[in-house]
């Protein structure tokens, strides 16, 4: 029974990781940038979710507002921060992104205060029994939400003209461009969707913990990097599997390895182990 409970907890956490990491891996696939500041957008999503819910009483509206606002900010970050340095060596964008992320965290601290904010009247806080397990509604909503959003993304990528243009740009940007695809528009769309998914994850974490703090993005940010590396940078399917696997491994690891390693270090121990055995990630071709 403990094993089932741990697995479910791991899957809830894994859904959050998946939502954050998918945006990150999409950016990497298209631009070869490790977009650390992505987790800053996740935090902002959490803040907007709580603030709008408290102001209007509607969680649904808050989710939509957070996703659109953060998605637009994601486009802004691409335009202002990454576009001018795309032709530089990769470490330039990486370091710029780390700087941007640290500065964002500080700005959240200055604007929203250091202690974090909570829902006045936390939505979805009841517990329901499912097959002998007692789960909070928020946990169920998180899993269903992640499945719906990622399913929607898959449908968009696989079944529409926009999705085709997108996949073509990831596979071969130059060739896509010569076939008349506006690469810059694809990149805008990419940043919008990736950032909106991170915002959704932020809203969900705010629901699960009923707390949003300036530094809530730190740990997910670095862990999401570990996840996309595990999944084989730029590989969406691999990233999803790695995210869910890591959630479950952490849930078990905290119980069985807790005295040896801190929870957050488990992800990196796993990462280093995997990379030493398979340098291109779990599913990559070495």
């Amino acid at each position: 029974m403990l094993a089932v409970e741990l697995t479910v907890q791991g899957l809830v956490q894994g859904s959050i990781y998946a939502l954050i990491a998918v945006g990150l891996t999409l950016v990497y696939g298209l631009l070869r940038i490790l977009h650390v500041a992505h987790a800053g957008l996740f935090t902002l999503g959490g803040y907007l979710g709580v603030l709008v819910t408290n102001a209007t009483g509607s969680l649904g509206l808050a989710l939509v507002v957070a996703m659109i606002a953060v998605g637009l900010l994601g486009i802004g970050i691409y335009r202002f921060c990454y576009k001018p340095i795309l032709d530089r060596p990769p470490y330039v964008a990486l370091i710029a992104s780390i700087g941007l992320f640290i500065a964002m965290e500080e700005i959240f601290r200055l604007v929203f205060g250091p202690y974090g904010i909570s829902y006045v009247d936390p939505p979805l806080s009841q517990t329901v029994g499912v097959a002998g397990l007692s789960l909070r509604q928020a946990e169920i909503a998180t899993m269903l939400g992640a499945v719906a959003l990622i399913g929607g993304l898959a449908a968009l990528a696989g079944g529409t003209r926009i999705g085709t243009a997108w996949r073509a740009s990831v596979t071969d940007p130059q060739m896509a461009q010569s076939f008349g695809i506006d690469i810059d528009r694809v990149r805008h769309l990419n940043f919008f969707i990736g950032s909106a998914l991170a915002a959704a994850a932020g809203v969900m974490v705010a629901l699960l913990n009923n707390l949003v703090e300036p530094t809530m993005g730190s740990v997910p940010s670095y862990k999401a990097l570990a996840i996309i590396v595990l999944g084989g940078l730029g590989d969406v399917r691999g990233t999803l599997i790695a995210a869910l696997a890591l959630g479950v491994i952490e849930a078990f690891g905290t119980i069985y390895l807790g005295s040896l390693l801190d929870r957050d270090a488990i992800a990196f121990a796993f990462l280093i182990l995997v990379l030493m055995l398979r340098p291109a990630g779990l599913f990559g071709k070495a």
């Binding site: 032709d87 060596p89 990769p90 370091i95 710029a96 700087g99 500065a103 957050d264 280093i272 030493m276």
Partner: protein, 290 residues
């Protein structure tokens, strides 16, 4: 006067830490996002030794050696993974280090190690030692840069595959860079432990790694004078100006971003622009975004 002595000591330690990362990232082109872990290894090793009564000089030396030894092991990963993968792996090493330290009661766990004995040199003596070591590390860096090894590092940084084709033993040079850089980071850590007299897991976290990287990047990746200047200013400024201390992270983050966005060569490149005959800014890693 005490205040100035403390300031100068902090500055010296910052310079050693920044130059040690520069050996790996600047000279040899291997990005490391977990450098503070090695200052941490040196600090913990030295602090454990002096608190159990061993002499300071021996502890400092052992801290450097242990950090260097672990550094070689971490350096082995740079033979397996490159660029972005290496950046994430080294970041992971940093998190692993504090993750392990936090759970070890022998190392003080969350609370860290208190009451580390002094160096026995007095405040001024310790400052002179730190400054002398910083000067020695700067001299050593300049010497390396002009030596055969420096050219080999440069070749590895520029284009690993071509370097290998020219008969350079890439693996050996990478490991040497990691060994030297991490050993010096361990030295900086040992000095730090005996300067502040307290160390804990949070003294060596990701923020600290980024702070060291910020000094290297702001100074200009690979430029010894630029980094010495940047490290000196960036360690001292938060202590001088309360405003800077309050917004330290915002400033570090903003600076990292602004330098990369507007002048990726750092301070050194700004100076070089005024000298038309100077060499063009070097690209440390192959390939752009596309």
């Amino acid at each position: 006067m005490d205040y100035e002595i403390t300031l100068a000591t902090t500055m010296g330690i910052g310079i050693i830490a920044a130059l040690s990362l520069n050996l790996i990232t600047g000279f040899c082109g291997q990005i490391s996002l977990g450098h503070a872990a090695f200052t941490g290894i040196g600090a913990y090793c030295a602090a454990m030794m002096t608190t159990s009564g061993l002499p300071f000089a021996l502890a400092l030396f052992a801290g450097g050696v242990l950090a260097g030894a672990v550094g070689v092991v971490v350096g082995l990963t740079s033979l397996r993974v490159r660029h972005d993968f290496l950046a994430i792996t080294t970041m992971g090493v940093g998190f692993l280090f504090i993750g392990i330290v936090r759970q070890q009661d022998a190392l003080g766990g969350e609370l860290g190690i208190y009451g580390i004995p002094g160096s026995g040199l007095g405040r001024e003596g310790f400052m002179i030692l730190t400054m002398a070591l910083a000067a020695a590390v700067a001299g050593f860096s300049l010497y390396i840069k002009r030596s055969w090894m420096g050219y080999a590092f440069d070749a590895v940084a520029d284009d690993e595959d071509t370097a290998r084709m020219l008969g350079i033993d890439v693996a050996r040079y990478k490991l040497t860079a990691f060994a030297l850089g991490t050993a010096l980071a361990g030295l900086a850590g040992g000095l730090y432990a005996h300067h502040v007299r307290y160390i804990g897991p949070d003294s060596f976290g990701f923020t600290e790694s980024v702070a060291i990287l910020a000094m290297v990047v702001v100074g200009g990746i690979g430029s010894v004078p630029g980094i010495v200047l940047a490290a000196a200013v960036m360690t001292v400024l938060p202590q001088w100006l309360q405003v800077v201390a309050d917004y330290k992270l915002l400033l570090y983050g903003g600076l990292l971003f602004a330098v990369m966005r507007f002048s990726p060569g750092g301070l050194a490149a700004l100076v070089r622009v005024r000298r038309p005959a100077g060499p063009p800014p070097r690209r440390a890693a192959e390939g752009g975004a596309e």
